[in-house]
Amino acid sequence: MSKSSPKGKWLFWAILIVFMILLGRAWQLQIIEGEKYRQLAEKNRLRLEKVIPPRGRIFDRKGRLIVGNKPSFDLFVVPADLKGKESFAREVSSLLGLPEEEILKRINGARSPFEMVRLKKDLTFEELSRISANLWDFPALRILVTPTRVYPQGPVAPHVIGTVGEITQEELRRFRDKGYEVGDYIGKSGLEFQYEDLLKGKKGGRQVEVDALGRRVRILQEIEPEPGWDLYLNIDLDLQLKAQSLLEGKRGAIVAIDPRSGEILAMASSPSFDPREFGRFMDPEKWRLLAEDPSHPLTNRAIQGVYAPGSVFKIIVALGALTMGQVEPHERFYCSGYFSLGNRTFRCWKEEGHGSVDLYKGIVQSCDVYFYQLGLRIGPKAMAEFARLFGLGDLTGVDLPGEKKGFLPHPQRGKWFGGDTVVMAIGQGRLAVTPLQLATFISAVANEGKLYRPFLVREAKAPSGRLIRFNPQLKGEIPLPQEVFQTIKTALEGVVQDPQGTGRAARLEGIRVAGKTGTAQVRGMPQRVKDPSLLPYEHRDHAWFVAYADADYPSIAVSVLVEHGGTGGGAAAPLARELIKYWLGVQP
């Protein structure tokens, strides 16, 4: 090149090399790695949002809505996207009417700057429109729409319906194959849990383009979600509400079943809870109070409460003894108020004794001494065997999670004594049953041996119109002679109708109610206390009453348990009466 600058020529090559490096780098980024960066750019701008389908609704047997959905608009803030906390708090405070300190407190409480912090749940329409109009100025704000459960009739059978909540880590692991993601909702208990697969529906998806601040620019593609299936229950809304009101202020459970099919017409447990307080934003303090409440309001006593059946068990002893030919209906025993076995004395609940007692009188007046002897005749194994035939000591198979089996003793030589047999014959001791078990049991008696699986859901309907019908399921026919059932049923009617019957409180004008009282002892042997209200509450006996009506053509079977209610005839029978009266009144 130039003679004047012979040394400068290297710069020509330097320039050339530098630009070749730039060119080579552009080649590398755009041609060789172009695809990688293209994907990174797509990842930058594209977001996949899931679209939550409305959960299936729940209706009663007559198609009345018990559980529905509504969108809840919840306001969140992502601290990482905040420019200035203080100014943000001030402006949002004026928008929402939330105190500034409260907003700051929540933002500062975030565990990570990317965690969405809830500012307000369930925005009103006005708040929503105010926020939406200003959303562009607050890129840190997010409004999440979550379908929320609504209970238009108030809390209807909350124990049966169950609750829905955000999925936990543990549930995510457990249902790994079912396509759940963090933040999804899932049935936690009751039918919401049992029928989760039907109720949840199918998630939709939405591909949206967002800008660098995460604001949605446009929707590119959308796959509609599929709503969940609606459930139609066997429960009758009115009867259920009746049962709930009957238990108001008491602890206990009521189950009503159609004995002809096993359809559960009502299932109530008390104390209860308000499902509206559950869900994503449940106050932890409220949850703690509920979970730790000594009266266990979250327990569904109908399937999870286990109690000694008390005198209700005498039906089984009588059925067994008659079937085995160990007793004739007219065979008489003498009750002097107590019964001696070896050196032990077992009292009858009636101090002065029942005198001469046959089977009818034994059941109607629930004579303990009569059944001590029947129990001794057939023995504990036979009693347990007959109990098992009627489904005691085993799951009823009801379509609810968490059902308890109860307990039937297994008499073993050397560990079982005559005294145990005597106690067992009147339904005390180590026997344990749930109210639902006794309801299915009394249904089977009313049915003369047909044992149905109790069930809650009669139909599931897809939004497409597809229908699943859940039919009654006959678990088995108990092979006892017809006349045995007849004898017992006559006596059970006497329990209510007979002037001496223990269950007279369940008597109804024009309806033939049959039933059996029971008293589950909480402490020791029968208490001869004239006025149970004198006892401390925890020491009072549990009151049982099982019943069915009409005696000849039973269409409802009821099992009532009132914890610490005292006697079955006094505390439980009136509740059964109200229920039956109501049901047969509306449905002749």
Binding site: S4, I15, Y37, L213
Partner: protein, 360 residues
């Protein structure tokens, strides 16, 4: 190639670059602000006028006033301290009735003129000795310290770079070079501690941008994603998602090349790189062939100015260099840079023209 055609080839490169640059800015203006494109056209027109004036004027006249222009630039820089407008933590602009000028751009040209004059007046034209370099170093350090505390590291580097390239191009004694190298090394180590935190972060994040992808490494990552995702043909004008959706920061100024790479693809990026190369080789040749010392050094100074701006800016966008705020001539939005660049092109053409008229 015919002589006159060769003389104009550099200007043709600039013309094409300016056109592409304006289209690119028009694309950016869609989201970065619609007035941006109109303003830039105004700057280009003003710049072209001044460039033409430089071209038509005998550059020798600048030799006489070179030191005045240099001190004028330094004076403008010093004005930043009391009067500078602070934008995003840096005082780099002087406001004049709605317009902002960036004195550092003018100071660069002033420095080049002063250096050219100094070197052209040197009695012996052999390799440079330390004593030859004493005054030039002072001439660089004066504006250098004024800019790095604005803070504007990029311009500081360019100022030092211009002297460095000039020195190496003229030729320098080995001992002197070694001494200055060691001194420069210490200067860098000492300078590290003088750097602002964010500047240090930028250098560190250049080494590992994914260490803090949302913080200091963000620019680098998003720029590479923008360019890389352009692939061969690009996403099309106004269709660059990285820029349009705001993932790519400063895509109308310092990262304008990333916008180009995204929307025009490798084809566009390669054409621009090759046009800059063509222009720089033309500028380099102008310096090599200039007959008079002042013209030669002035041309070389301008060449190194463009060389540094283009390679640092594009190298940064491509993720080859740490993030330093330097505009890309003819592409970045900004009046001062555009006007100074076009004046520089005018000067180069002027030098070239006069070589033809008075030379061989």
């Amino acid at each position: 190639m015919k002589g006159w055609l060769k003389d104009f080839s550099g200007s043709v490169c600039v013309l094409i670059l300016l056109t592409i640059g304006l289209i690119n800015l028009w694309s950016a203006s869609n989201t970065a602000g619609s007035s941006l494109f109109a303003k830039q056209i105004l700057w280009v027109l003003i710049g072209s006028g001044l460039g033409l004036w430089c071209y038509l004027t005998d550059y020798k006249q600048f030799e006489d006033v070179a030191y005045y222009l240099y001190f004028g630039g330094v004076f403008l820089l010093s004005l930043l301290y009391p009067f500078g407008v602070e934008i995003e933590g840096a005082k780099r602009w002087l406001g004049f009735g709605g317009f902002y000028i960036q004195p550092s751009e003018f100071a660069k040209l002033g420095l080049i003129l002063a250096l050219a004059r100094y070197f052209s007046k040197r009695p012996f034209q052999g390799d440079l000795s330390l004593s030859d370099l004493g005054l030039p170093i002072v001439m660089v350090l004066l504006p250098f310290f004024l800019v790095i505390f604005q803070p504007d590291l990029g311009t500081g580097l360019v100022l030092v770079g211009i002297l460095g390239i000039l020195t190496l191009w003229i030729g320098v004694r080995k001992r002197t070079l070694l001494f200055l190298g060691v001194l420069g090394g210490f200067g860098c180590v000492g300078g590290w501690f003088l750097l602002k935190d964010y500047q240090r972060q930028r250098i560190l994040s250049f080494l590992d941008p994914w260490k803090d992808p949302l913080g200091s490494g963000y620019h680098l990552i998003q720029s590479k994603i923008a360019i890389g995702s352009g692939s061969i043909w690009g996403k099309g004008i106004q269709l660059g998602t990285q820029a349009r959706l705001g993932f790519l920061p400063e895509y109308h100024t310092d990262f304008v090349f990333a916008l180009l790479g995204e929307e025009w693809g490798f084809v566009g990026a390669a054409v621009v790189i090759l046009l800059f190369l063509g222009f720089l080789l033309w500028a380099f040749e102008t310096a090599q062939k200039a007959k008079d010392p002042f013209g030669r050094f002035l041309a070389m100074g301008i060449t190194s100015l463009f060389l540094l701006h283009v390679t640092i800016n594009i190298g940064m966008a491509l993720g080859l260099l740490p993030v330093v705020g330097l505009p890309l001539p003819f592409f970045s939005y900004g009046g001062s840079c555009t006007v100074v660049s076009l004046m520089a092109v005018g000067l180069l053409s002027s030098i070239r023209k006069r070589r033809r008229f008075f030379g061989a």
